[in-house]
């Protein structure tokens, strides 16, 4: 039966890919644009001024290169991987918990950094980051990065920023005199187990956790126990940024791990919302623009990668999404981001951020770790009250 399945798969693949060259070698030189490029991106990553006309970094690119940009937004890393597996897209803005999966699955191709003049302007801390560089080969250009901050309601906390992630992990009385039960949220992706592990790193050093993405059975069990306590406090886990905003406005939620994106949007609406970096440190994401292995429009894709690294685009996009640009030059003189924007979004805290990675069974720090698919099924169990 295995053979039958294999031959069916092989047949389908050969039918689908007969036209596409097997492109494991990076492109040698750029040709003329193909007239279009399609990108899988996070919501808010590729803006053409439709939401706010000041935030537009697509129109100019289309005018300059005559490559028409189409965007498919995805809400989770896993959706991105699924979309790229499906095929038909040129680029993806993959986070660290997706990028290595894409590389391992041969869904993306190496890139030739010589064809991207702005490559040398990229932040040195990111140029060879392990989430897009495998054995010295680059699989994409860094786009934006940022922290998962602790967002809180300033009225409930009486204007004082919570110092620890404790407010979302353990029952306690908030400064407004009421319990945090039913008033906190957590991310509903299994990657949230890493936040629990990071909290334990600071509060239970005897567990010996070195990286929140590399957990052995005991450390993993301790993280799950912590999350079971959290379940009793959380009414609903958040999945969609807009629904989280709605929950903060209409459901009385006062604290949650979140992205600067939600914080900035709500502050723009004059809601009593602020964010902070708790003492345990934070997890974060760092996204890479990656090129699909069977991209139909590689020239336009390279042009987009070059365009995405220009200081103007980096600054605008970082301002819109509440992220940090991958090109330090963008931090100065951008009207939308302002000169304080980079610092506010976490530019100086790079070392304090544990960037999202896919947990694998063969891990560096201790040989054998709990792999990601168990994170998924166990997190389902925790949310289900087990």
């Amino acid at each position: 039966m295995k053979r039958l399945l294999h031959s069916c798969t092989a047949l389908t693949l050969s039918l689908a890919f007969t036209t596409a060259a097997i492109a494991q070698e990076p492109l040698k030189e750029l040709g003329a644009g193909e007239g279009e490029v399609s990108i899988v991106a996070w919501a808010g990553y590729i803006e053409r001024g439709e939401t706010d006309k000041n935030y537009d970094w697509v129109t100019e690119f289309e005018k300059k290169t005559s490559c028409k940009v189409t965007v498919k937004t995805a809400a989770t890393s896993d959706e991105m991987v699924a979309l790229m597996n499906e095929g038909g897209f040129d680029l993806v803005t993959a986070s660290g918990d997706a990028s290595l999966r894409l590389v391992a699955g041969k869904r993306v191709q190496p890139i030739n950094t010589d064809l991207i003049p702005s490559w040398k302007t990229v932040d040195e801390r990111l140029q060879s980051a392990p989430w897009h560089t495998v054995n010295g080969v680059h699989y994409g250009t860094p786009y934006l990065w940022g922290p998962n901050v602790l967002m809180y309601n300033t009225e409930a906390f009486k204007g004082e920023a919570p110092k620890s992630w404790k407010v979302v992990f353990e029952e306690m009385t908030l400064p407004d005199g009421k319990s945090n039960k039913g008033r906190v949220q957590a991310y509903d992706g299994p990657i949230h187990i890493a936040d629990a592990a990071q909290y334990l790193m600071a509060h239970k050093p005897e567990l010996g956790i070195k990286s929140p993405y590399e957990l052995n059975e005991d450390q993993y069990k301790a993280a799950l126990d912590l999350l079971r306590v959290q379940r009793t406090l959380v009414g609903r886990y958040w999945h969609d940024a807009m629904i989280q905003i709605d929950d903060f406005k209409n459901e009385g939620v006062v604290a949650s791990g979140s992205w600067p994106f939600q914080v900035n949007l709500m502050q723009a609406e004059k809601q009593p919302i602020a964010s902070t970096f708790p003492e345990e440190g934070v997890t974060g994401w760092s996204d890479t623009t990656m090129l699909h292995a069977e991209s139909q429009h590689p020239n336009c894709a390279y042009m987009w990668m070059e365009h995405s690294l220009s200081a103007k685009v980096q600054g605008d996009a970082a301002a819109w999404f509440g992220a940090v640009p991958s090109v330090p030059a963008a931090c100065k003189g951008n009207a939308l981001l302002t000169d304080e924007g980079c610092k506010a979004n976490g530019f100086d805290n790079f070392d304090k951020i544990a960037f999202w990675r896919t947990p694998v069974s063969k891990c560096e720090s201790q040989g054998e770790c709990v792999p990601y698919h168990r994170w998924v099924s166990d997190y389902i169990g925790v949310i289900g009250g087990r």
Binding site: G182, R183, K249, E251, H373, S377
Partner: protein, 316 residues
């Protein structure tokens, strides 16, 4: 004489199309085969084929260490369905589907009865529009609207506060299973939205079955001394039962498979559809996702078998 032979045995038609038409006329089975092959291929390959491939996947397993799929026949994946956290998902979904179906039937029956017996002319049209209208707008818009209605600081809470009935809502929300910190974060909310969204699928079949109940049977029941409750119990309900069952097939199966409503409204505890999505899309654990998919297929198979015995398909 010669004239008769000329007209009774016609000469074969000439030309390719004429000959082809003669051929099909003489061999109707071949024509039938030719006509039926494309749709049967579609049904067989695209529909049943993919279903079969899915079922096949559920007999494989995932290697715990590497996360790769192990292509050997095993029932281990089905055994995983029985571990408490997965079995909870199945139980939760089936229970919700059963309750939604039951409640939809209770609410839909009087509406359908009114529409079938009393609504006439213009009112009948307005009624049809009223039932169908929710189906015309986007499913997502309706769910988001309900999220706002049920939210802690939403319309319903405001309305109840005006009526000084907030204590009632709070008492309900403090109940252990159905409660939560607000209606939109509780099973009660999920239940209400499910009922709202699937209601037309229950009303229409019941109405169709009620319209086929002859009015004189009800009059006869009254003539023989049956009170309204008895008439309902022994005449109307048994005759409408096939319609109720037909409607319940819709509401039950739709609730079993839905994964959007419980994600937006509810306490984040997974339903079968969400579990399939998470296992397949997130974990890459296709065998377990496939095994989860088999559960509603089996449940619906049993359900349809029982429905058939009750005569739900007699009116098709």
């Amino acid at each position: 004489m010669s004239i008769v032979t000329d007209t009774s045995i016609l000469a074969g038609r000439t030309g390719p199309s004429g000959r082809l038409s003669d051929f099909f006329w003489r061999n109707p089975r071949i024509l039938l085969l030719l006509m039926l092959t494309p749709p049967l291929l579609w049904l067989g390959v695209i529909y049943l084929g993919s279903l079969f491939a899915l079922l096949l996947q559920s007999f494989f397993s995932i290697d715990d260490f590497s996360g790769l799929i192990n292509y050997e026949f095993t029932l281990a994946t089905y055994k995983q369905l029985l571990i408490p956290s997965n079995f909870d998902i199945i139980l939760r979904t089936v229970l919700m589907a059963a309750l939604v179906t039951l409640a939809s039937a209770v609410i839909a029956f009087p509406i359908a009865y009114y529409a079938a017996r009393y609504a006439k002319g213009k009112w009948k049209v307005i009624f049809y529009l009223g039932v169908m209208l929710p189906l015309w707008s986007s499913y997502l818009v309706k769910i988001y609207a309900w999220k706002l209605i049920l939210a802690k600081e939403g319309i319903l809470t405001w309305f109840l506060a005006k009526l000084n009935l907030l204590w009632l809502l709070e008492a309900w929300l403090s109940l252990p299973v159905v409660g939560g910190s607000s209606l939109s974060i509780s099973y009660t909310g999920t239940f209400i939205v499910f009922i709202y969204v699937w209601m037309p699928f229950m009303i229409l079949p019941i109405q169709a079955s009620l319209e086929r109940v002859p009015g004189n049977l009800i009059e006869a029941s009254a003539d023989l001394g049956g009170n309204p409750a008895q008439t309902f119990r022994f005449v109307l309900f048994p005759l409408a039962l096939p319609g109720i069952i037909a409607g319940s097939i819709f509401t039950f199966s739709l609730t079993l498979g839905d994964y959007i409503i419980p994600q937006i409204i509810g306490s984040s505890r997974l339903f079968i559809g969400q579990a399939v999505y998470a296992q397949q899309g997130t974990a890459g654990n296709i065998p377990l996702a496939a095994a989860f998919t088999v559960v509603p297929i089996v449940i619906m198979g049993l359900y349809l078998w029982m429905a058939k015995r009750q005569g739900a398909f007699d009116a098709l």
